[in-house]
């Protein structure tokens, strides 16, 4: 028999861990360890910088400053409106994508999810070309009804919806696809119309995914920058949302930029915690 390698020492604690959890060594090989540490630092250091540099002393006064609070309020209500619009028109579309079959369905699905990968600024340009004063729809809105959308809070909501709704649609469509059709069949045999089935069975059963999708959509809308600034501009109090305010404040009032960023960071952390069980563990939406 060949001579065995010299045994290494296994601590009592490690013995305990292996006997309880099973599996072999948990040590990380050096070529993997260094890059992972760099990745962690790269992701975390900027956030630490934000916290270190924050003007903790005047936090409250900056927040209460009218420009800042205006941006905060605008951002909150427009992103909430965008999430609401997405729920109202996006959930029915998710149902259509998940439950029906017609020629062009695949194309439609691709189109609907396009904003997920499209640079937001391109979305803003596209919105401008469609709904701008000389856009092919906006022209008639202006001529016939005297409505001009661009550079208004409505434009902010539209830009945010355009970019954020696909997140909701994709989440809900996935949930609808994996949902057990047995319950819907049962409801049908009990006399429920298709609409009743949707309202009383389908939607309640995918409610967790609906909630997750709505939160994700809202968070995306809150952070929207490119499409918004292109289509809605940056009029303080009217269309200047938080991310846009951060961008401009960085030149004039860096402290305000940091405080606004901190607020957005806080919101993101809250969203993460809310969705923790859905995305951080296992990654499934069900």
């Amino acid at each position: 028999m060949e001579t065995l390698a010299a045994p290494a020492r296994l601590s009592t604690r490690e013995r305990q861990r292996r006997s309880v959890r099973g599996g072999g060594s948990r040590s990380v090989p050096a070529p993997l360890l260094a890059p992972s540490l760099i990745a962690v630092l790269f992701l975390v250091l900027p956030l630490i910088g934000l916290i270190i540099r924050a003007p903790w002393g005047n936090l409250w006064s900056i927040l209460r400053n009218s420009d800042t609070s205006q941006a905060l309020r605008l951002s909150l209500w427009t992103s909430t409106a965008a999430a609401a619009v997405s729920l109202i028109i996006g959930v029915p579309l998710a149902w259509v994508l998940a439950r029906t079959d017609f020629p062009g369905l695949r194309l439609l699905r691709a189109l609907v999810t396009l904003p997920l990968v499209l640079p937001p600024v391109v979305g803003g340009v596209a919105l401008l070309l469609a709904f701008g004063r000389r856009g092919f729809i906006g022209r008639y809105l202006d001529q016939w009804f005297g409505i001009t959308i661009p550079f208004s809070p409505a434009a902010v909501v539209m830009a945010e919806t355009f970019v954020a709704m696909p997140f909701l649609i994709v989440t809900v469509e996935g949930a609808l696809r994996s949902a057990d059709l047995g319950f819907e069949e049962a409801a049908a045999t009990l006399g429920a119309s298709k609409m009743t089935v949707f309202r009383r069975i389908t939607v309640p059963l995918v409610a967790p995914s609906l909630g997750a999708g709505a939160v994700l959509c809202w968070a995306r809308a809150l952070g929207e920058f490119g499409a918004t600034i292109t289509f809605a501009g940056s009029f303080p109090g009217r269309t200047e949302t938080m991310p846009i305010a951060v961008y401009y404040a960085l030149e004039t009032d860096p402290d305000a930029a940091i405080v606004l960023s901190l607020v957005l960071l806080l919101v993101s952390v809250i969203v993460l915690v809310t969705l923790r069980d859905r995305w951080l563990r296992g990654g499934s939406t069900q």
């Binding site: 006399g191 429920a192 309640p204």
Partner: protein
Amino acid sequence: MTLGARRGLDFDAEVSRGEFTLRVALTAPPGEVLGILGPNGSGKSTLLSAVAGLLPVSAGRILIDGQVIDDAHNGEFLEAAQRPVGFVFQNYRLFPHMNVLDNVAFSPHVRGLSRRDARATASGWLQRLGLASFADRRPADLSGGQAQRVALARALAGNPALLLLDEPLSALDARTRLDVQSELSRHLADFDGPCLLVTHDPLEALVLADRLLVLEEGRIVQAGTPAQIARRPATEYVARLVGLNLYGGKVNGAEVRLRGGGTFVVPDHGQHGDVLVALRPSSVVVSLEPPDTSARNTWPATIVGLTLLTDRVRIDLEGEPSALVDVTPAAVTALALTSGRPVWLSAKASDLEVYSYSDEPDHDLGAVRRAPDTNRHGSTTRGPE
């Protein structure tokens, strides 16, 4: 168009699902519990789905109380929600986000009652099925037997003209099954309309059904009362379900030439032609020497397997003909019966049930060769005598 307003269910149709085709003609009058017995993949659930409107028929039509609900010829189709059908699904499919009361109130409510009236109706049904104390529970907090009753209450609360039950007891463990079974049998007796009960469990079918259809590969292979089917199975599948040996052969007076080899002496009723012979495993006697007995049938065979059933041992024997034989565990030890051992079998002529089953001429019974009975109840021979 209705041809004679026959009451109950009138199903004469074909349902295609990919390669599989179900082709069945059956009627079920009001008040009858029609059991549909068949192996997995025989089309039982497809049949229920077609009646409920979850699947359309591809040919033929379905009528309830003389009214067409599906007709492939002229395209008439009544959507599932409009059919007066109560469906108890295999896994009950109780709505997990509603409590028991709202589950049961669902059908009355969507069929037009106000929420309050629907709940009152539901309460009535819960009371009737002894579920009143579970009204506030979620389905997840119910035992299997309770969930089964809630599913039944929910189906009945919609006031259906027809009740469909898909393997109503299969999700229950063996102990609760017996309790729920007798209770279910009571509730089914109270129901006015026809009731289709699908099952692959012969005991369930024998106990619950007034009449049985045996379905194999999308066709009805036998129809009759549970007693008839238990005594004179038409196919190998049915024979195995009811725990009988079944042989196909040609009778000439008192002698049956079996298609798989061997002959049987049977009571002479002057019959001729193709017949089936059923033999109860407990009617066969096993001995080590050629038996000195009045039994008219004795033949050598070799043991190929032994299975312990609850209170007896089922021996699988190869010979001409092969047979399943039930003996006591004591006999197994006393005679040292083991696999590979040659023995002698004997059976009285009067224990052989000889009958013709001309409806199924192409069924190849020459190759009848049963596997050891693995039925989980070990009590399938308990059919009505």
